[in-house]
């Protein structure tokens, strides 16, 4: 086996250019998903009529199907459906030309992130003592104040390890974006590998980059966790 060092360096440089794309594919869905997920988690906990049920079924579906299958299903059918929709309302908007693959990637990853976030919020809010909410009500706070001032700060601290874990999972999930013609880390490796016929080196390089990204997230999260833990005490 002969490793080509110049090729490895070249791939590394190319791949580093794709790191921002990979990160944004993880972080943006995380940020969008947390709002939706928080509301749905609340609906689930308080057994709100339609939304509570919807949240459980939604989580079950997204967590029960592989991410690839979700990508295959939605990426291959959504453009057609949207196109039909725009044609039906008489617009000449060209879906295939004007919506880039990355838009679908953001959409699909937001769907998955939301499902995972619902689970995290539900368990975190559930583990805040019930007496806290009752105490908040007795001193005259309204439900909104009680949640934002009393329950949320405690729940976030409890959820912190899981949230950081989720971010790592989401970063790993973005490796499927190459199926949607997004130029992320995996895509650059794939292109480099096919052009130079050096598959092993190419993928090992991005594997190392993924490991560095995830270890950094874990490192940063440890620092944040320690800070929060200190505050609570």
């Amino acid at each position: 086996m002969k490793l080509s060092i110049p090729f490895i360096i070249e791939t590394f440089k190319n791949a580093m250019g794709a790191v921002p794309v990979t990160l944004s594919l993880a972080v943006v869905p995380f940020l969008i998903g947390r709002v939706l997920a928080f509301l749905l988690a609340l609906a689930q906990i308080n057994k709100v009529r339609f939304f509570g049920r919807f949240a459980s079924v939604y989580v079950s579906i997204i967590r029960g199907t592989p991410a690839v299958v979700l990508v295959l299903l939605l990426y291959n059918t959504l453009p057609g459906q949207l196109s039909a929709f725009f044609k039906a309302i008489g617009s000449d908007f060209n879906v295939y030309r004007q919506i880039p693959g990355i838009a679908y990637a953001y959409f699909i990853f937001t769907l998955t992130a939301t499902a995972f976030l619902i689970e995290i919020f539900r368990s975190a809010i559930g583990s805040v003592d019930k007496g806290q909410l009752e105490a908040a009500y007795t001193i005259g706070l309204n439900p909104f104040q009680a949640y934002t001032r009393i329950i949320l700060p405690q729940a976030i601290t409890l959820a912190m390890p899981n949230l950081c874990n989720l971010l790592v999972v989401l970063v790993k999930n973005t490796s499927l974006a190459f199926m949607m013609t997004v130029k992320d880390l995996t895509q650059t490796a794939k292109l480099g590998a096919a052009l130079n016929y050096r598959y092993a080196e190419s993928y090992i390089v991005i594997l190392i980059i993924y490991v560095i990204i995830c270890l950094s997230i874990e490192g940063i999260s440890k620092v944040i966790e320690n800070k929060l833990a200190y505050k609570v005490r």
Partner: protein, 227 residues
């Protein structure tokens, strides 16, 4: 675009026979990842510091690797490595072996974590009591600690099996014809038509599989705890 229920049923029936490949990949990965995980867990719990460091590094590494990237590294890298080490050409081995190997490697880490956590839920006194009544350390582990640890681990094991099933879906990308591979094939047979129906059928199969798996592990865990 409208939904053709008869095409949905047709693809469902077309995909189902390939469920056995999906299940085979998951079962083999479960077996081998249990072995790898057992070794890694023993490494962490053991007294040997090198074993501890190696096991911890392995687990940390696997937690950070996207399944598809590991699959590609194993699929493209291991034939070269094996050729270089042993002079044997494994390039034309069936893709399923590479899929099983990478899934086992990936999930060995989560199995190790699971086993370590389960082992630590069993009180230390249990083992000491077992040894004090004259059982050998192996007997104490096998007859006293393991049954209790296994019951504690069951619900988490259910989750691990579900994620093995789900990660197995990636194997189609290196050419394994499991249910995902079959679904893509059916679509190309239809010249790219009935995509929605076919992939919906595929998603439905996975969903049912996941729900049933997770539920049965929960039920089993509850039953064993009571008994």
């Amino acid at each position: 675009m409208s939904f053709h229920i008869n095409m949905f049923l047709k693809s469902l029936l077309g995909i189902l026979p390939y469920l056995k490949t999906t299940l085979l990949v998951a079962a083999a990965s479960l077996l081998f990842s249990t072995i790898i995980g057992g070794i890694a867990a023993a490494g962490i719990l053991g007294k040997n510091s090198i074993g501890r460091v190696v096991s911890k590094a392995y687990i940390a590494l696997m937690r950070c690797v996207p399944p598809i990237v590991l699959l590609f590294v194993v699929y493209y890298g291991s034939p070269t490595l094996v050729l270089w080490l042993t002079g044997k050409d494994i390039n034309n081995w069936d893709a399923i072996y590479f899929a099983i190997f990478s899934l086992s490697l990936l999930h060995g880490a989560s199995m190790a974590e699971l086993m370590r956590a389960a082992y630590q839920t069993v009180e230390k006194g249990q083992r000491e009591a077992a040894v004090s009544i004259g059982l050998s350390p192996f007997q104490a582990f096998y007859r006293i600690v393991l049954p209790q640890a296994a019951v504690a681990a069951l619900p988490i094991l259910g989750n691990a099996v579900v994620s093995m099933l789900k990660d197995g879906a990636l194997a189609y990308s290196i050419g394994v014809v499991d249910i995902t591979g079959r679904a893509s094939y059916i679509i190309s047979l239809n010249l790219g038509g009935y995509v929605l129906e076919t992939y919906l059928a595929l998603a439905l199969i996975y969903w049912i599989l996941s729900v049933v798996t997770a539920k049965s592990f929960q039920v089993l865990g509850k039953k064993l705890r009571r008994g």
